[in-house]
């Protein structure tokens, strides 16, 4: 059945049974997804975290020659100051906020939206205009669609409404689905032509270094890549429908796009775990080789490229180092496997969300580390603080804003935000980061000595999942 019916994608909870909170053994989780008996959890204490609106903005910032209109009071556009500066490579791309005030929330906001679209269109003549819906307009049920229909007749521009709301899903990752739903629905025109001699490389959040690495690997296999949505122009979406194959980089993030292209345009989709680590990269390439009939080329490439980093594996660069990993799910599971491959030990794993897409990887982790507990949380550093005080790892690998918790506990920490960790080359980069962090702990020790965490002393005695409860419908 087409995913593209309806104005927005379903939430991840409805589509994949995604959980945003869990702490405990892996086994029941894997069983639960297999039998579709997992039940939703909530937190009775929670800390601020990303929502789908921010993920929508994050994704849209990567699309070229577009104007983004955030339909909301000014605050929902705040993150854009940061995202536009850090997520975008060029300086193009304008954004505006409709600046809803109290009166608009009572009287309706469609006139203001219309005025904003027309004004921005006249000023910049972009090829694309995105309209991003937010909690205030979703709650008031303000009409966006009729403004879009009307202006589509009037103006020579593609207008793409993105129906995020910020409260229907507990998982920010739903934001990528919502944005991709809109992009596929509004940018792909159905022209049934013959398949082109290229593959879709589905990249959502990869940084420039990672994208370059992955694109390079495909090139080595002789595959021409049509990359989307990262850095994509509208043509990339049109071309996507005629590609001979779609390949994910991050299988969590590109899931919706790959499946929509498969179900509506018949483009086969392969979504292996991320190319992280030597084995992981080979496995990713092999899945592509299988799908495209290039198995031999993959083996040649592996022999050629892995040589330089095999040395790191041989000398077990992370021998004896206990590493805690807190990253988006697919990345975390890949990094955990890479740590083991390099001789390190996985002290624990926190992943932003978990769902049926992770069944296989979780089962593999369970087989390698029986008894390992898994923590599912986006942010929620109070739980992290508790867990880290129990596990006392030697090294913490985390995402934006998460290292400080570990550091204040005196645990060396690294961020992989700005480092390319994908592919064979990524292994060396990751080892370099880890080794530096272990070599000089001065900053960490300084922070730990002088700055504390805000949690009550009794918290560490409680179980880290104290505030996670089964949701009562």
């Amino acid at each position: 059945m087409s995913l593209l019916k309806g104005k927005a994608s379903k939430t991840r909870e409805k589509r994949l049974n995604t959980l945003s909170a869990y702490m405990g053994d892996i086994h029941p989780l894997v069983e639960g997804f297999r039998k579709e008996t997992v039940s939703q959890r909530i937190r009775t204490f929670s800390q601020s975290t990303f929502d789908e609106v921010i993920y929508v903005l994050r994704l849209l910032n990567r699309i070229a020659d577009a104007v983004t209109i955030i339909h909301s009071p000014r605050g929902c556009a705040a993150a854009q100051l940061y995202l536009h500066a850090t997520e975008r490579e060029g300086e193009d791309g304008r954004w505006a906020v409709t600046n809803l005030n109290e009166r608009d929330t009572i009287m309706g906001s469609d006139a203001k939206l219309r005025e904003t679209v027309v004004s921005l269109y006249r000023r910049y003549r972009p090829r694309l205009i995105f309209i991003v819906a937010t909690p205030a307009v979703a709650i008031n049920n303000d009409d966006i669609q009729s403004v879009v229909e009307e202006l589509r007749e009037e103006l020579d521009v593609r207008i793409v409404p993105v129906y995020s709301d910020g409260f229907k899903s507990k998982n920010a990752v739903t934001g990528y689905d919502v944005a991709l739903h809109a992009l596929v629905k509004y940018l792909i025109v159905k022209e049934q032509k013959v398949r082109g001699n290229y593959v879709n490389l589905l990249s959502v959040t990869e940084n420039a270094s990672d994208l370059e690495t992955v694109e390079g690997l495909l090139k080595e296999l002789g595959l021409r890549a049509n990359i989307l949505p990262n850095r994509a122009a509208p043509e990339n979406f049109v071309k996507a429908a005629q590609a001979k194959q779609s390949i994910s980089i991050n299988p969590d993030y590109s899931d919706y796009l790959g499946k929509a292209l498969e179900s509506d345009y018949g483009v086969p989709f392969v979504q292996p775990p991320l190319p992280i680590g030597i084995n992981g990269t080979y496995r990713w390439l092999s899945a592509i080789g299988e799908a495209t009939g290039l198995k031999d080329a993959v083996d040649d490439l592996h022999a050629r490229e892995s040589g330089a980093v095999l040395r790191l594996r041989e000398k077990a660069a992370l021998q004896g180092v206990r590493v805690y990993v807190n990253l988006p799910a697919a990345t975390a599971l890949g990094v955990a496997a890479m740590v083991e491959e390099l001789g390190g030990e996985v002290a624990g794993v926190t992943i932003e969300h978990v769902d049926s897409l992770h069944e296989g990887e979780l089962a593999a982790l369970l087989a390698r580390k029986p008894g390992l507990q898994i923590h599912v949380a986006q942010g929620q550093p109070f739980e992290e603080a508790n867990i880290l005080q129990r596990t006392r790892p030697d090294l913490y690998v985390g995402g934006l804003g998460q290292q400080v918790v570990a550091a204040k506990l005196g645990i060396p920490a690294v961020s992989i935000n700005n480092t390319g960790i994908l592919g064979y080359r990524g292994v060396a980069r990751f080892v370099h980061l880890a080794v530096k962090a272990l070599k000089n702990r001065a900053f960490i020790l300084n922070l730990a000595k002088n700055s504390g965490l805000p949690y009550a002393d009794g918290w560490r005695q409680k179980s880290p999942y104290w505030y996670i409860k089964q949701e009562v419908k």
């Binding site: 975290t49 705040a78 993150a79 995202l83 600046n99």
Partner: protein, 450 residues
């Protein structure tokens, strides 16, 4: 009707209130809204304010109810009650401030009642209704300050009598003034040098106890339109008179005026103040002499465009024009000061350079700001990160003085008072000189007349 805003630099009331509370040592906000609101503040309020971090319990650590669909449909008050109860158990704090966002205000949750329940159990919990649709960051600061002034006395431990020489500083908004902490420290330093004591309420060493001292101050000093409401409230409640300086002082003239005014109002030692002014002026003069050669060699005397808030712009203009001899081309004020105050602000800026013709524009729209700067043909741009493009188009150096500052780390540096004025001169001079050196146009300065 407030229209759309391109690349808005003024966030919302909730964001303003969150960062206002977080700047008080030991105070913790409890956000009652959707999950993303706190992250919008972290990404769009802290990280873009000179790379400010999460501190004690900001960023991902900020307690937040993260309401979901069922709370939107059935109301979220009980979720808030649960969150307050658990925050009290889990997060150590001297003061909890419940802040509501758009979603919970639209739904109509009873935030005051939930805060009151906790207070009646003896917990230090206050609240402010701060939905984003009610205003920008500046209004959020006003609402948070008002909530604290009004509700803190209801907590145990409030008093008391006036302390001679104690003044309260209002109008500097944490993070929205990227240099807020350095600016407060410089104000504190210079006020103390003449025998006053400054209660700056935010930043290093300023905790809830500072807020309890509000009734003890003899005078409130207001440095932007956004401090006026708080000052009025303090006058009404504690009979504290206030002086509206309208803008932060930059350089000897404005700082001297501040110190002399305070000396007079508090009846401090006039000869001590005179000696302080003299010493500070000598120090400034000493460094101006040191930079004089570079001033001419690299051409510091430029026609400038200045983009900033009403609490900064007159002070900065005064120093640039009347101490450094720069030429104002365009002055843009971005914080939407109340309409009735605008004519006064404009007049104040114009009288700093009465013989020079230049425009004063009020707008927060970055597209319009870019147009105005480009048309001005400025040789130097002082503004925010958002002015990078316009400055580059003009080939003019950019000095980042206003929010947001994304690609610079700002910790304790200040652009006000005496020492801050020197830092500003260093930043401005460095931008001009490095622009010249990079472009290889500096060599001409070595030539003698043919």
């Amino acid at each position: 009707m407030a229209g759309h805003v391109e690349s808005s630099r003024n966030n919302c009331a909730l964001i303003g209130a969150i960062q206002t509370v977080q700047a008080i040592e030991g105070a913790v906000p409890i956000i009652h809204s959707t999950a993303g609101c706190g992250m919008q503040q972290y990404l769009g309020g802290s990280l873009v304010s000179g790379c400010s971090g999460s501190g004690y319990s900001g960023g991902l650590a900020t307690p937040s109810t993260n309401i979901i669909e069922k709370h939107v449909v059935f109301g979220g008050s009980s979720r808030l009650r649960e969150q307050i109860k658990n925050t009290l158990k889990l997060v150590k704090s001297d003061l909890y401030v419940v802040l509501s966002g758009c979603a919970t205000e639209l739904v109509g949750d009873d935030v005051p009642a939930m805060a009151k329940e906790a207070r009646e159990q003896g917990h230090p919990v206050v609240y402010a209704n701060t939905p984003g649709f009610r205003g920008g960051t500046h209004h959020g600061y006003e609402l948070a300050v008002k909530a604290l002034i009004e509700q803190l006395p209801a907590l145990p431990g409030a008093k008391r009598e006036k302390v001679p020489g104690l003044v309260t500083v209002l109008g500097i908004i944490p993070n929205q003034d990227v240099f807020w902490e350095g600016n407060l420290l410089e104000l504190k330093r210079i006020l103390e040098s003449v025998g006053a004591q400054a209660n700056t309420l935010f930043g290093l060493g300023q905790g809830v106890e500072a807020w309890r001292q509000l009734p003890e101050a003899e005078l409130t000093l207001v440095f932007s339109p956004w401090g006026v409401e708080g000052a009025r409230l303090l006058e009404e409640r504690y009979g504290t008179p206030w002086v509206d300086f309208t803008t932060l002082p930059v350089g000897a003239e404005a700082s001297g005026f501040l110190l002399e005014t305070v000396t007079e109002r508090l009846n401090l030692d006039r000869s001590r103040t005179a000696a302080v002014l003299h010493a500070e002026e000598r120090s400034l003069a000493h460094f101006l002499e040191r930079v004089a050669d570079a001033y001419f060699a690299y051409g510091f005397q430029r026609e400038f465009a200045l983009v900033g808030e009403s609490g900064q712009v007159p002070g900065l203009t005064g120093f640039l024009v009347n101490a450094l001899g720069l030429i104002p081309g365009t002055v843009i004020i971005t914080d939407n000061p109340p309409e009735p105050r605008r004519a006064g602000i404009t007049a104040r800026i114009r009288e700093l350079a009465p013989t020079i013709d230049f425009e004063v524009v009020f707008t927060e729209d970055s597209g319009r700001i870019r147009d105005v700067i480009r048309q001005s043909g400025a040789e130097l741009v002082l503004g925010s990160f958002l002015e990078s493009e316009a400055a580059r188009d003009l080939g003019a150096p950019l000095v980042q003085v206003s929010f947001p500052v994304i690609d610079r780390v700002v910790l304790s540096r200040s652009h006000i008072g005496y020492r801050g004025a020197l830092t500003l001169l260093e930043d401005l001079g460095s931008a001009i000189v490095s622009g010249q050196i990079k472009r290889g146009t500096a060599g001409g300065s070595f030539k003698t007349a043919a």
